[in-house]
């Protein structure tokens, strides 16, 4: 083994000190004038395509469009939480301690809820876009947290309500066994019961280790429920629907309700299998001129030339709104308590090209309309990504759970 002599060691140490000190001082001077946004999501697992690297890109686009000319710089960083709450919490702590001012996205409800408590403890800003659980603005609400484009209540009301109105009054749930699946099953069951329907049963399967759903589908069929509700997402939903078609579930008259589905899932299933399914989103690239212009503008910058979906568009919208609030109160105040920034975000109206006008409610809920879509038949589609047709719009104040019913402790009604 070679020995390191004193001279080399000294030289190396001096060099390293010089190298590290110089950019270090510059970085510190810059940090006071830079707003740092951390986009945390699934970059390598089943939820990668609905957010992932494209979610980071969309936040970057918003930061660039907002411009660095407002007296401060904006830097966007990304990280992979691997759908694990422990990993998510570690990244969040590290980020907030190292000067990240706002954490964005955080899909997978279990991770989304875990990061929620870190943001509150550190008194920083947290905008959740990707997680579904309505608890983020309910029992677990926080004055530091906003929940941006959707939640389980909105999905349950729109998709669940439509299925019940169409005669599907008995339900069986196939549920991913974690916070998200439980919340979605609970909220949908409430709607089914409130409209006079009944829940015939449910199975909870291990997430994310399940690929074969045929066993659960047969149990659902044996219950003779009219609707099978999938309280899951991503590849699980794709597998469930694919296998339901294989086992001829729909041919016997049972209806499928994919309670959370994204356009990427339709892309993965193919229209042949997905046609006729109903789904709820708050964004669709081809819904109106504004969304079309926005989507065509950003699409060339997204990986695999995917169309933006409600989550990636949500990252854009949330970043823009946050930066508006920062510009409003000034960089020094924005580096201070997160609650102050959040209060300003609630005071000013939300407006952008992707979602139009909206508002941020007291409990952190972003209020925008929800849209019920039906997946087109192959003959109706003009090409890739032309997948959905609008069935119904629910106005912003109808789409989400009323403020008083959420059980959010700090809300005064």
């Amino acid at each position: 083994m070679s020995r390191i002599d004193r001279r080399t060691l000294l030289g190396a140490t001096a060099g390293a000190t010089a190298l590290s000190a110089w950019p270090g001082r510059r970085a510190r001077a810059q940090a006071a004038n830079t707003i740092k946004i951390g986009v945390m999501n699934d970059q390598s697992g089943p939820y990668r395509d609905i957010g992932g690297p494209n979610g980071v890109t969309m936040a970057q686009i918003a930061a660039q469009e907002f411009g660095n000319s407002r007296g401060f710089n904006v830097e966007v960083v990304g990280a992979d939480h691997q759908n694990r709450p422990d990993v998510g919490v570690n990244i969040a702590r590290q980020w907030y301690d190292q000067g990240v001012d706002m954490i964005l996205d955080v899909p997978t409800s279990s991770v989304g809820l875990a990061v929620n408590s870190v943001a509150r403890e550190k008194n920083k800003v947290y905008i959740n876009v990707g997680a579904a659980t309505a608890d983020l603005t309910g029992p677990q609400c926080s004055p530091n947290t906003a929940h941006w484009v959707y939640d389980t209540y909105m999905l349950a009301k729109s998709t669940g309500g439509a299925m019940v109105r169409a005669g599907g009054d008995s339900w069986f749930f196939i549920t991913a066994d974690y916070a998200f699946g439980h919340a979605l099953e609970r909220d949908t069951s409430n709607f089914v019961r409130a409209s006079g329907g009944r829940v015939a049963g449910s199975v909870r399967y291990p997430f994310p280790a399940t690929t074969d759903f045929s066993s659960f589908l047969l149990q659902a069929q044996a219950s003779r429920a009219k609707v099978i509700g999938f309280a899951n997402a991503g590849a699980d939903t794709v597998n469930s629907i694919k296998q339901a078609a294989e086992f001829g579930i729909t041919r016997r008259g049972t209806k499928l309700a994919a309670l959370l589905m994204f356009i990427a899932d339709v892309h993965a299933l193919g229209l042949e299998t997905a046609q006729g399914l109903v789904m709820t989103e708050s964004f669709y690239w081809d819904l109106n001129d504004s969304m079309r212009n926005f989507s065509r503008r950003v699409q060339p910058r997204l990986a695999n030339r995917a169309m933006p979906n409600m989550l990636t568009a949500g990252n854009y919208s949330a970043t823009l709104h946050y930066l508006k609030a920062v510009a409003d109160i000034g960089i020094a105040a924005a580096k201070g308590p997160g609650v102050e920034v959040m209060n300003r975000m609630k005071a000013i109206p939300v407006e952008d090209e992707a979602f139009g006008r909206g508002s941020l409610r007291q409990d952190g809920r972003m209020m925008i309309p929800s849209y019920l879509f039906e997946v087109k038949a192959p003959s109706e589609s003009r090409g890739p990504w032309d997948y959905l047709k609008l069935l119904q719009t629910t106005a912003a104040d109808e789409a989400f759970r009323p403020l008083g019913e959420g059980g959010c402790p700090f809300v005064r009604t």
């Binding site: 390598s44 697992g45 089943p46 939820y47 990668r48 395509d49 609905i50 992932g52 066994d177 199975v203 909870r204 399967y205 291990p206 994310p208 280790a209 399940t210 690929t211 074969d212 045929s214 066993s215 659960f216 047969l218 149990q219 044996a222 991503g234 590849a235 794709v238 597998n239 694919k242 296998q243 294989e246 086992f247 001829g248 016997r252 994204f262 990427a264 899932d265 892309h267 993965a268 299933l269 193919g270 042949e272 299998t273 990986a303 695999n304 995917a306």
Partner: protein, 294 residues
Amino acid sequence: MDDIFGIPAPLLFGQLLLGLINGAFYALLSLGLAVIFGMLNVINFAHGAQFMMGAFVAWMLLEYAGLNYWWALILAPLLVGLFGVLLERTMIARLYKLDHLYGLLLTFGLGLIIEGIFRNQYGSSGLPYRIPPQLSGAWDLGFMFMPIYRGWVVIVAAVMCLATWLVIEKTKIGSYLRASTENAALVQAFGINVPRLMTLTYGAGVALAAFAGVLAAPIYSVNPQMGSNLIIIVFAVVVIGGMGSILGSVITGFGLGIIEGLTKVFYPEASSTVIFVVMAIVLLARPAGLFGRA
């Protein structure tokens, strides 16, 4: 209607059958692993990625070359097997004399890289692949609706397992193989090219994984992480059956499929854990596995 443990009998029969079908995948995948471990002493952690590659190659053949499922069933294992041969020649062959751990680390890394490349190229949500028209539709068995394609999977998997077992246990080339795992130097002294035999064995094991991938493409979402979801279970199957035991991995594959299927009825939350519980019990009672030689 007759109930068994509070579950209607027809439902239970259906679940048993489904368990058998999933067991077919476990058997086919663990077979490849057992062949590779038994002959090469390499724990092939890239098996899941190679399974995924089989499904993706099937999709590519259809998408870019217009070749249907039946072509894919032959071509995809050949292509992916060839890729396996390349890996063996350039990398894995250098590790035979070292501890198992090195082979495990190398193949694990390779698996992650392959998965990452596919994820970057095709995203994570998957690609559509349809059941071939000749096998679509279903039989009504009275107690359940049995898709023809699933029946096909069980039959093909069983035939494949039997064929592999016959080749290794009953043919001349199989006897060379078994001999060279016992004493490679001696077999080489008889004029048999042992390194080439090893290369072909690895290629064949990988081809088996790819074959299972093609079988899986029409029923599971074809996505980059489809292999990593299965591979952990398959490793448990191999360990329970006894590392390197071909018959053991086949029987255990089908058996555990059934156990898992029943768990999905009685306590679905535990369906991903039950196999590991079985593994723990088996290892305590028989450390070499059910069919392994201590």
